[in-house]
Subunit: 348 residues, 2 copies
DNA sequence: ATTGGCACTCAGCCCTGGAGAGTGCCAGGA
DNA sequence: TCCTGGCACTCTCCAGGGCTGAGTGCCAAT
């Protein structure tokens, strides 16, 4: 094996080194691997291979006389090519099931899921709530709060409740509001919010000339609230941030502070996640691969989940690059599939 | 001045020491104070006074040859007797006003307030949302989500929206639900949720014998949801946790972890706050005075706010005991009064 | 190609000694 | 009686030096 490609033995050694490091957190030396190695290579031979792996950028030494530590590139190779698939243990599946079965609306369930992820992996778990615009209209209701303030309550097919307050230019009576609500439901029941908004805009153009005040008000009100809804931030549930502090890998307070700041600024977090997550399938982002430097020493395992056939939200795990990738990936994959199923075919 | 009581000069010195320590974070020595002191006492005299203050438990030395540091008792005395009242600067008042004026419902405003508190004090800011049970009914609506699942939406007089999903024992049609909602509103509009619940329970006893299904269902449904509502956790908005990490006062990771855990477990946090907050007025809890050991090195400035004449929620600041008490107290007091006013006379 | 051997490097630890900050106490002065 | 200057003392902090243990890189032998 020279500098070009990784032969089979090199891969085996690399895997063993990373596995070891993930569990111990200590730089791993040639002797350690030599003892484990099935074919019984001597420490000296391992050293040669290690030197090669280092040259290729998969490993590095914290200092001259220490063992080796994986680089981000090393983890990347490990995740892409060395990882053996893993089942989610039965006990974990049960904990997830329990969280999903829980009482309360979707927000409560998502919060509970983030809690379970955090608790199983001992890392930071997160769930980003589904995109509102994909919600399918089931019921809409307008309630006058007095003097031109109107509250809109919208229920989607899976029982998620969206609400929004806005001001209108003119006073509208409660009866009229009821009628407008009924009209919108009867007309657009079963459509997604985006579809409805488009349909309303279309109709507004067509009907402009006419003077059916009820209808025009319905259109105005509907578009106004759907617009607001689209702009509303997605909710983010983050749990287990204190786990990050446990990790001995971190000692730099200033960096730590920036990480916590990122967790707190939910909007920024979603943006970062949006940048890296695809429309399909699980992604792993490791250390320096992150677009945001605040996460430069963290690894992210994230997967989108769907509502119907549209990607709607995402969930995952954040932790130090020294992370049990296999476990985290299995869990995140499992939950994202489960959640997609639940949201697509609503319970009952 | 001997061991018994603090004479005027002792108080002056103590105040100066604490002021100094709050700003520098370094143990303060006799020379430093001697230089500041208006009456021009020598360092040696200051030392004698310091020794007395230490004996009385207001100060301590981290080690023999260091300056003095306030004890929790010292801070307590400072807060109770040495603090000169302070105005909230105009610029801060404006930032608060802006947060309150913001678009969106109450939750958004409260979240924004916690953010402003954190940003002004550079500490952790928090707001606990008002107790649901004090809300005054304006509108209630039941929506069937199919197969015995029912969503209740309740709007109170200040425009806050509460919603809750629950299962019923038998299917109820949407028309019936509408009727039930209308009935409850017409009957109990303007009452608080607690009052309503009691009235309903009362009525249930009386009407037990009769067989008006609509009425009995209304009663059952109403009590069920109001019950659930009372049990619902109060929301807590916590912001600026990362500021805690900036503080050089903390270095013990394990303790830090426990603090962050406490911030994350909102329920536990509310319980702790409930224990210390009174029904009226601002409270300061310093270090070891805390009932919960997790906060043993933190200081808390907290005040309840009211809806009408009932204490409803609370808000405040959490930070190291080395905190700018005057500023924090002024700000928390100011905001709590402002919030009480807003919630009592809702912005039309 | 693999291995045992050997020299080398470096973090971690403990010890030491000097500098600096601050104290406690004492004796002299208003 | 209270205040103050002076002085010895204590203790942290830091830098330097020596030792140990872990682990490496390289070389010559198999």
């Amino acid at each position: 094996m020279s500098e070009m490609e990784l032969d089979n033995r090199g891969r085996e050694i690399l895997r063993e080194i990373i596995r070891n490091f993930i569990h111990s957190g200590e730089p791993v030396g040639s002797r350690t691997i030599s003892k484990i190695h099935p074919e019984g290579l001597s420490a000296a031979s391992i050293r040669n291979i290690m030197a090669d792996l280092e040259e290729m950028g998969y490993l590095m030494q914290p200092h001259t006389s220490a063992g080796r530590v994986p680089t981000d590139r090393g983890y990347r190779y490990y995740v892409d090519s060395l990882l053996t698939g893993m089942e989610v243990p039965r006990s974990d599946r049960e904990r997830v099931a329990e969280a999903v079965r829980g009482q309360g609306g979707l927000p409560e369930v998502l919060a509970e899921i983030s809690r379970v992820i955090s608790s199983i992996t001992h890392q930071v778990g997160f769930v980003v709530s589904p995109d509102h615009t994909l919600a399918i209209l089931k019921h809409i209701e307008f309630i006058s709060l007095g003097s031109k303030r109107i509250l809109a309550i919208l229920v989607d097919r899976s029982g998620v409740i969206h609400n929004r307050v806005a001001d209108t230019s003119e006073e509208i009576s409660q009866e009229e509001l009821d009628k407008i609500g009924k009209y919108l439901v009867s007309e657009y029941h079963g459509k997604t919010l985006t579809q409805i908004r488009e349909a309303l805009l279309q109709k507004m153009k067509e009907e402009k000339a006419r003077f059916d005040t009820l209808l025009s008000r319905a259109l105005a009100l509907g578009t106004q609230f759907l617009q607001a809804q689209e702009e509303a931030d997605q909710q983010v549930f983050v749990q287990g941030t204190s786990n990050i502090l446990q990790q001995p890998d971190f000692s730099d307070m200033e960096e730590m502070r920036r990480i916590f700041e990122t967790f707190e600024a939910k909007g920024r977090l979603v943006k970062i996640l949006d940048e890296v997550v695809g429309s399909e399938g699980l992604r792993v982002v490791i250390g320096s691969e992150h677009p945001d430097p605040a996460l430069a020493h963290l690894a992210l395992v994230v997967s989108p989940y769907k509502v119907g056939d549209q990607p709607a939200g995402m969930l995952g795990v954040l932790g130090p690059t020294r992370m049990e990738y296999a476990r985290a990936m299995a869990l995140v994959g499992y939950i994202s599939k489960l959640l997609s199923r639940i949201l697509t075919v609503p319970p009952s």
